[in-house]
C-alpha cells in the first residue's frame, strides 16, 4: 500500500483512538451511575429511547470502533499471519462494515 494510504490509516487509527478514549470514559461512568438504581432493561431504555443525544453519542462510539479495530487487526494479520494485499484489504473493509452495521443496529434498537 502507498505511503500516503498507510499514513492516512495511521491518522485514522489515532483520531479514532482519541474518540474512543472519551467515549469509553463516558460509557463507564454511565454504567456505574446506572447501576445505582439496579440494572434493568426498562431503566436503560428509559434513558436512551427517543434521546437524540445518546443516539448521537453511541453512533460516534460505534463508528470510531469500526474505524479503529480493523486497522489494528490488519497490523496483527500482517505481522502474525503474513497476510497482505488485496484480500486482506477486502477482509478488513468487511470487518469495518460488520462492526458498523451491528453497532448501528444496536444503537437504533435502543433509540427507536
Amino acid at each position: 500500500m502507498s505511503a500516503r494510504a498507510e499514513t492516512r490509516l495511521w491518522i485514522a487509527q489515532r483520531a479514532s483512538a482519541v474518540a474512543l478514549a472519551l467515549c469509553v470514559v463516558v460509557h463507564l461512568v454511565v454504567i456505574i451511575y446506572a447501576m445505582r438504581g439496579g440494572l434493568s432493561a426498562a431503566e436503560i431504555l428509559g434513558r436512551t429511547r427517543g434521546n437524540v443525544g445518546w443516539a448521537a453519542f453511541y453512533t460516534v462510539f460505534v463508528l470510531a470502533a469500526a474505524v479503529h479495530a480493523p486497522i489494528g487487526l490488519r497490523a496483527i494479520a500482517m505481522e502474525w499471519l503474513g497476510w497482505r494485499g488485496r484480500s486482506l484489504s477486502i477482509a478488513m473493509h468487511l470487518a469495518a462494515l460488520g462492526l458498523a452495521v451491528l453497532g448501528l443496529r444496536a444503537v437504533w434498537a435502543v433509540f427507536a
Binding site: 500500500m1 502507498s2 505511503a3 500516503r4 498507510e6 499514513t7 492516512r8 490509516l9 495511521w10 491518522i11 489515532r14 497490523a75 500482517m78 505481522e79 502474525w80
Partner: protein, 243 residues
C-alpha cells in the same frame, strides 16, 4: 599448574557454525575489568583460532563488535563481564535478526541496505561555491538531529526489535533514526522523498513502541523517539497533501 587450578574461570558457551550450529564450551580465566570482547579474543587467540568474530576499535566507536550476550544484544567491547555474567557463566552468540555467516559474524548488508532504503543519504541543496550553512545549535531541528546523530551502526537496536523479527521488510530502528536526523537537517533537500520512503508498514508506522531499541542502545539514543517524530512528520505531510 597450581596457579591454573587456583585461578577463577568463566564457563563460556560460544556459538559455532552458521544458521545451523551449536554452542561450544570454553573455560576462560577471569580477569579484573575483563570485557566480553576480551573473553572472545582470549578464546580465539589461545583456545580455538578458527573462531570468527568481528571487532575494530575496542573503545565503543566503530560499532562492529555487537553480539548476543546471555540473551541480550550488547556492544561487547564496552560490556564488562562483571555486569553480565551469571554465576561466572556467559553465553555468546551472533546478533538476532541478521543472517549468520559464521560463528559470531553476521551479514550486516541487509541492515545497511535498509539505511539506504530509508533515505539515509543526505541530499545537499548547496554547492561548494555557497557559503557554509548556519544552523543555530539551539534550534528545534538541530536539537532533534543531535539527539540521534551519535549512532555507531552497531545493530544492537535492530537485533533487539521484535517488529523486525515479525516483518523482515521493516526498516528497523537504526535506519529510521538516521532518516529522522536527516529530516531535521535544514541543509537537506529530500525531505518529502524521505518521508515517503519511511511511511508505511515497512517503515515508521510498523513500530509498536515496545522501546526495546531505546532500552538496549549502547549510546543511549532513542530510536523510538525518532520513529515517533517520523510518524508526526508523515502525518502532517499527509494532511497537507504532500505525501
Amino acid at each position: 599448574m597450581a596457579e591454573w587450578a587456583a585461578m577463577k574461570r568463566l564457563l563460556v558457551r560460544v556459538w559455532r557454525g552458521g544458521e545451523q550450529g551449536l554452542y561450544h564450551r570454553f573455560r576462560v580465566p577471569r580477569e579484573a575489568n575483563q570485557t566480553v570482547l576480551d573473553v572472545v579474543t582470549y578464546i580465539q587467540q589461545r583456545l580455538d583460532p578458527t573462531l570468527s568474530y568481528r571487532f575494530a576499535c575496542r573503545v565503543g566507536m566503530c560499532g562492529s563488535c555487537a553480539m548476543t550476550v546471555n540473551g541480550i544484544a550488547r556492544w561487547t567491547c564496552r560490556t564488562h563481564v562483571a555486569k553480565v555474567a551469571r554465576d561466572d557463566r556467559l553465553e555468546i552468540g551472533p546478533l538476532r535478526n541478521l543472517p549468520v555467516i559464521k560463528d559470531l559474524v553476521t551479514d550486516m548488508s541487509g541492515f545497511f541496505d535498509k539505511w539506504a532504503r530509508a533515505g539515509g543519504q543526505m541530499v545537499p541543496t548547496a554547492t561548494r561555491k555557497d557559503a557554509l550553512a548556519r544552523v543555530p545549535p539551539d534550534s528545534r531541528e538541530r536539537r532533534a538531529a543531535d539527539a540521534g546523530i551519535e549512532c555507531i551502526g552497531c545493530g544492537v537496536c535492530y537485533a533487539s526489535c521484535d517488529v523486525v523479527s515479525w516483518n523482515p521488510d521493516y526498516l528497523g530502528p537504526a535506519a529510521l533514526n538516521r532518516a529522522w536526523t536527516l529530516v531535521n537537517d535544514v541543509r537537506d533537500g529530500a525531505r518529502l522523498d524521505r518521508l515517503r520512503a519511511v511511511a508505511g508498514d515497512a517503515g515508521c508506522h510498523a513500530c509498536h513502541t515496545h522501546l526495546s531499541c531505546t532500552e538496549r542502545c549502547p549510546k543511549h539514543l532513542s530510536p523510538t523517539a525518532a520513529i515517533a517524530g517520523l510518524k508526526r512528520a508523515t502525518a502532517l505531510a499527509a494532511l497537507k497533501g504532500e505525501l
